[in-house]
């Protein structure tokens, strides 16, 4: 029998308060790991900040425009002369540029203009302002009484002029092109000096409609906002009752059987189906099969309803579930039928939660683009507001995200600014809806 204990390992007697190497390493790893987490969150938040900053920086210029403001006088003789000319709009353009040149001379920014100078000014003005002649002509033909008295014209300038003025009139890196030449910048400077050109709110952008592919300055999102509005009405009117009904059935009445399981499986799968597949469904069923009008808000609303139903059903069921069973028991106990219990007691108590879920579902539908491209809301220029209320649903129109996509896919970079501006408007709507949802939840949500 040996009493010999195992030889104890040579042990440095050390204070427990001093860290040894291994502990140091482990603590360092601990710290590092924590920093990884912070770094990951920061990257995510930096992404968000960059995204928001980009949107604001690129989009806000779309809200203002550079406009040329002139108190133009057209005499009766000039009017008759222009109307009898072969190229009528060209005649108006010439008269207008003459007037601008005269004004410049009068205010003393230019002296002794020769005919050549004047011709150059005319050409420059066309580059700066586009085809002004037709605008002026349309005005005088519609208001013949204005002939002879000064009329204030507020005409949009080309997008490149916009860019030049927004850049603080800096000519660094300016390249002459057929759109804007070096000498036009002198003309712009002169016009700025006599206060003829300046920036103001672009009402066209807020209230106007899309323009053709060659006129980014005249493009607006107003009509698309109205289209989105009509589409959201369709989505709201259909998805709210249907999803509430479906949720009530599944949550309160459905027996546990194969059929119920089938519905449940379908709802959870539909929630994860890519949105473009709903676009295919809409194209095949609503347009190919039922021949509903293409690119109408009604069809878009139907497709988005099918797409958002699973989302709203899931949140509606959650809020029905959160109503405690004691409420049901009490109602049943005093003799209410099952249906009365649900409609008189459970549903009102779940209403705030249902509304919140519905608003969030609507916000999701408002920003959805892909399925709408398939039902024809692209490559289509929505030029006018719908004539009637019913027409708002059935006439071809555009909606905000589809309009943004249309602008983004055009070749002219002038439309990019509009697309960013449209995104700001879209996000303002989404933000408002989400804030309303949050307020509703805070205000009315009851914790049992």
């Amino acid at each position: 029998m040996t009493d010999a204990t195992a030889p104890s390992l040579p042990r440095k007697s050390k204070s427990l308060l001093a860290e040894d190497d291994r502990t140091k390493k482990r603590n360092a790893a601990e710290k590092r790991f924590k920093y990884y987490g912070i770094a990951a969150i920061s990257v995510g938040l930096v992404f968000l900040v960059i995204l928001v900053a980009t949107i604001l920086r690129e989009g806000t210029p779309a809200f203002t425009r550079t406009a040329v403001t002139v108190d133009f006088v057209l005499t009766q003789e000039q009017f008759d002369e222009a109307e009898s000319a072969v190229l009528k709009t060209a005649a108006y353009t010439r008269l207008f540029s003459q007037f601008v040149a005269d004004q410049a001379e009068e205010k003393g920014v230019a002296t002794d203009l020769t005919d050549e100078d004047r011709a150059e000014i005319a050409a420059g003005l066309e580059r700066i302002m586009g085809k002004i002649g037709s605008d002026i002509r349309v005005h005088y033909r519609e208001n013949p009484d204005d002939v002879g008295s000064p009329v204030r014209f507020n005409l949009a300038a080309a997008s490149r002029v916009d860019a030049y003025l927004n850049n603080g009139q800096s000519r660094d890196g300016f390249v002459s092109s057929r759109f804007l030449e070096e000498q036009d910048l002198d003309l712009i400077d002169a016009m700025v000096e006599i206060d003829m050109i300046g920036s103001d709110w672009d009402r066209t952008f807020f209230f106007g409609s899309d323009s053709g592919v060659d006129n980014p300055g005249g493009a607006g999102i107003g009509v698309a906002v109205v289209g989105s509005f009509f589409m959201m009405i369709v989505v709201l009117v259909l998805s709210l009752p249907i999803s509430v009904a479906a949720s009530i059935y599944l949550e309160e009445f459905a027996p546990k059987n194969r059929f119920t399981d089938l519905i449940e499986v379908n709802i959870s799968n539909l929630a994860a189906v890519p949105s473009i597949v709903f676009g295919i469904l809409g194209l095949a069923v609503f347009i190919q099969f039922m021949h509903l009008p293409q690119s109408a808000p009604l069809v878009g609303g139907l497709v988005l309803t099918l797409m958002t139903l699973p989302t709203i059903i899931i949140s509606t069921r959650a809020s029905l579930k959160s109503v405690p069973p004691s409420i049901r028991d009490a109602a049943l106990g005093v003799g209410a039928s099952k249906m009365q219990t649900v409609f008189h007691h459970v549903l009102p108590l779940a209403a705030p939660g249902i509304l919140t879920g519905t608003i969030i579902g609507l916000a999701q539908a408002l920003g959805e683009t892909a399925p709408l491209l398939l039902i024809g809301m692209v490559g289509f220029v929505a030029r006018a507001y719908p004539d009637t209320f019913v027409g708002g649903f059935t006439e071809a129109n555009s909606v905000m995200p589809a309009q943004i996509y249309t602008w983004a896919s055009r070749a002219d970079p002038g439309f990019y600014e509009k697309a960013w501006g449209g995104i700001i408007i879209l996000l303002v709507f989404l933000l408002t809806m989400n804030i309303i949802a949050i307020i509703l939840r805070r205000r009315f949500e009851r914790r049992w």
């Binding site: 995204l51 479906a246 799968n269 994860a272 890519p274 295919i280 408002l366």
Partner: protein, 493 residues
């Protein structure tokens, strides 16, 4: 009678029914509601619902069936000889429909009168000119046959609409009268109404099944049409994607492999961005972050998920793409000249990764929180540091759930459309270089189905086959992911 008025009339009848039903019930009880079987409201509702429900169901069925019947009847009238060379019956039908719609619009705009539109002997060039004046898209002169069929089509629709109004109104009135006659103080109105309501609730719930069936049918039928025109073998195994624009299909190569490759590659890059960032964020938020940080950072991250994808698409196209070119492109910051254009796999992938971060982080956060606290306590009690606990206890326990979350994110990435449409380019390519433009299944669905309204060519129909592929891939991923997540959750409950 226009549809709006028809619906309004039915609604008015329903309100009327409510009132008369209620009044009759109260009268039969001698004015004392206590003698009634149900509350008076239910008698009114019974009559109102007997008006609305059958009438609306009849209306919906009529709206669905009438176009089919009329199209079939007209289509049956078209002799084979009348179908132009290189065209098909459905194209002639759509031409007829276009002319008929054009006539309607022209009458609305006052370009022609109803009589003129019905006049079978109308001068064709005059008719065409008037249609053009009304802004209708008519490419050539309307042929006599097409015009005649279009007029038939309109006439049949007019008759159909008239019949529809009669039938729907008759059903509504019959419902009103019958249920009004049944109203009596011993009639069990509440039971009947509640049964009907339950039926409606069930119908609403079944809409999910109907939607799935609708998706499947619209995909399957068109895909079968496509495979009749283009061999399925070449579609699934073809290594080249180059649709011809002629619409004849003879020269098109419609192989799905390059598109699938682009889809998977972009999704892979997206997950490469989203998974580490999302997972580490989730770990930090659930294990380390003080409540104040958590309550701010979590909603902020989730904002990324609420931003519409079109915004990300534009961001990829106009900001991220040019930025990446300025780094990796010619004369770029690195001077490597790898990237020639802004639209590339990496552009779309990075932006899509941004979008998926909150998706991964919220799901993983839930799953990490579901790991029982006792497991952490045990590990910490043995002297492990917090990070060792996370790496060696919490993460292995949560792993199946996290894999499920990543799979769900992958299915989102595969189905994502707008970012790739704007950010990934349009060229189908089988390449490993992430700086090259590639295209995806979703982007091609959009490009094949927009602009062209002719669904008879293989170039358009291929989109349905692509949709089918996409549907089954995402469905498979989702089912698998949900299975994993559910199985894992049950483990600790």
């Amino acid at each position: 009678m226009p549809l709006t008025w028809l619906v309004l009339t039915v609604l008015v009848l329903a309100v009327l029914g409510y009132v008369v039903g209620r009044v009759r019930a109260t009268q039969s009880a001698g004015g004392d509601a206590r003698n009634l079987h149900s509350l008076p409201v239910y008698y009114g509702m019974n009559v109102a619902m007997s008006v609305i429900v059958p009438a609306v169901i009849a209306l919906i069925i009529w709206l669905l069936v009438q176009p089919i019947v009329i199209s079939a009847s007209i289509s049956g009238d078209i002799p084979d000889s009348a179908i132009p060379e290189g065209s098909v019956r459905s194209l002639v039908m759509s031409e007829i429909r276009r002319v008929a719609d054009g006539l309607d619009n022209a009458i609305d705009m006052g370009v022609m009168t109803e009589d003129f539109a019905r006049n079978a002997g109308a001068d064709l060039s005059d008719m065409t000119q008037r249609l053009k004046d009304a802004g209708q898209v008519i490419t050539q002169n309307v042929s006599a046959d097409v015009l005649r069929w279009a007029q038939d089509y309109r006439a049949m629709h007019a008759t159909g609409d008239l019949l529809r109004s009669f039938v729907v109104l008759a059903i509504a009135i019959a419902g009103l009268v019958l249920s009004w006659m049944r109203t009596h103080k011993d009639f069990r109105a509440r039971i009947v109404v509640e049964k009907l309501v339950l039926g409606l609730l069930m119908l609403a719930a079944s809409l999910a099944i109907l939607t799935t069936i609708g998706i499947l049918l619209s995909l399957i039928f068109n895909t079968i049409n496509f495979f009749n025109l283009y061999p399925a073998w070449d579609f699934f195994l073809g290594l080249s994607w180059s649709p011809s624009f002629s619409g004849r299909g003879g020269l098109s190569e419609l192989g799905v492999i390059p598109l699938l490759w682009g889809t998977l590659y972009i999704s892979f890059v997206a997950l490469l961005v989203a998974v580490p960032i999302g997972l580490l964020s989730a770990i930090y938020l659930s294990e380390y972050a003080p409540p104040a940080v958590r309550s701010i950072a979590k909603p902020m991250l989730e904002v990324l998920a609420g931003i519409p994808t079109i915004v990300y698409g534009l961001f990829a196209l106009l900001t991220v793409g040019p930025f990446l070119v300025s780094v990796f492109g010619q004369d770029g910051a690195l001077g490597v000249n790898w990237m020639s254009g802004g639209t590339a796999v990496i552009t779309a992938g990075v932006v899509m990764g941004m979008m998926l971060i909150p998706f991964v982080s919220s799901l993983s956060d839930d799953i990490i929180n579901a790991v029982p606290q006792a497991m952490r306590d045990g590990s910490l009690g043995l002297g492990a540091t917090k990070s060792e606990t996370i790496k060696q206890v919490v993460l292995p326990a949560a792993l199946p759930g996290i894999v499920g979350a990543i799979l769900l994110a992958a299915s989102r990435a595969i189905g994502e459309t707008m970012i790739v449409v704007l950010g990934a380019g349009a060229a189908a390519r089988l390449s490993l270089n992430p700086f090259e433009a590639m295209t995806t299944v979703t982007a091609k669905i959009v490009s094949q189905l927009t602009g062209d309204s002719d669904f008879a060519s293989p170039e358009a129909l291929v989109a349905f086959a692509l949709g089918m592929t996409l549907f089954f891939i995402t469905l498979g991923l989702n089912v698998f992911a949900l299975y994993i997540v559910r199985k894992y959750r049950e483990q600790y409950e």
